[in-house]
């Protein structure tokens, strides 16, 4: 890509990444949540990859890492849900943490934790799909 695209991508990627994290962390207070924030975080990585080519992310290694973090985060979300079965009443997805004051950043029990792990899962899944399309295309061409 040209110099203008590279420079604008350099300037903007950090802000997009931070905005995605903001959307994930404030999911229980403002519009958005795990899915929207995860997609925005994945978008930041995709912008970086499109502007600078595949060499910036050292893709052959990173692709396995995104797949790993995706698997681990969905496992943790399942374990959080399963923990509700053993703590207190026997309900899957039970909200067993104290809910706190409405409107605080640390409130709403387990909802922010689910938001964070679903966000990691969505970002890793979208990035894995994008990188798979990129890497295997180059493997075919070789």
């Amino acid at each position: 890509m040209s110099l203008i695209v590279k420079k604008v991508a350099q300037l903007i990627t950090g802000f997009i990444f931070l905005y995605g994290i903001y959307i994930i962390v404030h999911g229980h207070l403002t519009p958005g949540g795990g899915f929207a924030g995860g997609a925005i975080v994945a978008g930041a990585y995709i912008l970086q990859t499109l502007a600078f080519g595949r060499d910036t992310l050292l893709l052959k290694k990173k692709e396995t890492n995104t797949s790993l973090s995706e698997s681990i985060s969905i496992l943790i979300a399942l374990m959080l849900a399963g923990a509700g079965f053993f703590i207190g009443t026997k309900v899957f997805f039970n909200n067993y943490l104290p809910t706190g004051k409405i409107g605080d950043l640390v409130s709403a029990g387990t909802i922010p934790l689910y938001n964070i792990f679903i966000g990691i899962e969505v970002a890793a899944a979208l990035l894995t799909i994008f990188l798979a399309l990129l890497i295997y295309k180059e493997e075919i061409e070789e």
């Binding site: 229980h28 689910y114 493997e139």
Partner: protein
Amino acid sequence: MEVTLSILLGFMIIGAIFALHAKDLLSAVIAAGIVGYSLVICFLLLKAPDLAIVQVVVETITLIIMVAVVLDSTREELKVKIDTQQIFNISLAFIFMLALIFFFVQATDMLNPFGQHSLRMASAYVGETAAKTGSANLVTGVLFDFRGYDTLGEATILFTAAIGVLTILRIKGKK
């Protein structure tokens, strides 16, 4: 607001029809993007910012991937000859369409008029979500607490999709 929504819906229909009939595949992909981005504005007008955020991000990412695919493969549409097998398929599709329309008309007779639904569950959610879960955002409270199974299922679908892409696209295999 109805006037704005009607204009947007007409715009979406025009974009979809153009996407079907465009000679160049790249302009067809861009025209399909019109539908998605108009849907974002529709969501904003209908006061659903959660959905609008998700839609604008996912639409952008899919548009990027589609443009990349079109630029890599071919920009011209393939010509397909119509034989008896395809005539059979098309007529079968029309028969299913007529049957679906018949059943939809039957089903909509049973519903309340538009805008006056009897939402027993929804009124309970709207009233008690903040008190029961402590979440200021109603949508997240419903998605991650009352309807936790739905969210888990959606995350599992994405997980399965990523694994499926990795499995299908790997031609050389791991060394």
